[in-house]
Symmetry: C2
Subunit: 218 residues, 2 copies
DNA sequence: CTACATTTTTAGTTTAAACTAAAATTAATT
DNA sequence: AATTAATTTTAGTTTAAACTAAAAATGTAG
């Protein structure tokens, strides 16, 4: 059994590893968790003793296979609960994070098995993030142009093809940047235009826009 | 905001107060919570400072109006979650206590408002215990003979009319004692016999039995 | 009413997880 | 390469909530 604090550290390290694809620094963890670096050092040493991460002094931390599975499981629970809150209790998708942050720590294998089934074994949470499976595996992602997506598909912006300033300014105005999640709500086959959701906003984009944005899909 | 430990103490004191209708002793709390009396003393002093209970050294504790409301709210959450686990996730009613014990500490007013609505504003949990309302009020109970109940009603055994040893031995065999919860699953109007649920068991009882058992109802 | 038993409290430790301040290491700049 | 800056760790405190052992208060039996 792991403590709430330990689970939160593992989760944070998992997210930071995904973002940077490298070992994560003590300071990065401290900043993300709004705590002090010295506290982080204490905890990573403890997690290293428990073989959840591998850690070398001054060299940062990386999750072990075991730690990664553990972290993915907490994230799985978080995202399943978010689906519950939105689909069943009719919360808005931007109101559920705080509550899921608590629910993710409830300990019961059986509960999650049943919750998953009750929700129809969803693959994504209400923010479009993928839900890891029981073994902690997340469906691998693939790079595409936004224009290749169809209705109801989702992607995360990972780059642009066209780099002219008008285009970049357009993206800026629409709050689209690296890491932005995009849901395709509708697609017109006649001209390739789309209706997409970005954060709380929904708007129309032309084929030309969609052909110049790279997204990562699942 | 109150800590998990504080909420658990308040809940325990609430239950003990209900059972004995008097102030609760430090030892009683310690026993129920499987902790040491000295730990209880520490905590009741803290709760008294916070005006959640009134406490005089060596004289035991009683909840203040504020503390009682707080405790009832934790119990409300516990019981609503139990309904969720049984009605929606199809757990058996004797499997849900441990999980609800964790869920009852999730902090979100709105969550409980919505959960309550989603479950159809239930009045009882799957064990037949009443669910306090938002203001911590529990529907007042009334003393009746078991034979006065109808199908789907519930009662808690509070005494007997007939006191012969055959009758008491019968009750003993059926595991019915003071405090035992009884659900009436079916009633035959022709002869007044009933099918009742007691703990995990379901069985048939005659009108004569039902006319000699007092129960408290809601 | 005294003597013993039980209950309760106090005083002092322990543990997990945070903190501060200072020391050590690594990185960056001139 | 030497010095400064930034990062990270160590050492020592703090807090909440538990614990043990001993002291104090209360309850009970002769």
């Amino acid at each position: 059994m792991y403590s709430l604090a330990e689970e939160n550290y593992l989760k944070t390290i998992y997210h930071l590893e995904q973002e940077s694809k490298t070992g994560v620094s003590t300071n990065a963890i401290a900043e993300r968790m709004e705590t002090k670096p010295s506290s982080v050092t204490d905890m990573v040493q403890k997690l290293a003793d428990k073989k959840m991460i591998s850690y070398k002094k001054y060299k940062g931390s990386t999750l072990t296979v075991h730690g990664k599975k553990m972290a993915a499981n907490v994230i799985r629970k978080h995202r399943l609960w978010e689906v519950f809150l939105v689909d069943k209790l009719k919360f808005h998708w931007d109101e559920v994070h705080e509550i899921a942050e608590q629910l993710e720590h409830i300990q019961s294998e059986e509960l999650i098995v049943r919750l998953d089934k009750y929700l129809g074994n969803p693959d994504f949470d209400p923010h479009g993030d993928p839900i890891p499976d029981k073994d902690g595996k997340v469906k691998s992602t693939e790079k595409k142009l936004l224009s290749e997506l169809n209705k109801k598909q989702r992607g995360v912006c990972i780059g642009v093809k066209e780099t002219g300033s008008e285009f970049l300014q357009y993206l800026d105005k629409r709050n689209i940047t690296i890491g932005t999640k995009i849901n395709v709500l509708g697609k017109e086959f006649f001209d390739g235009s789309m209706i997409i959701q970005v954060g709380k906003d929904q708007f129309f984009i032309s084929k030309k826009i969609a052909e110049n944005l790279y997204v990562q899909t699942n």
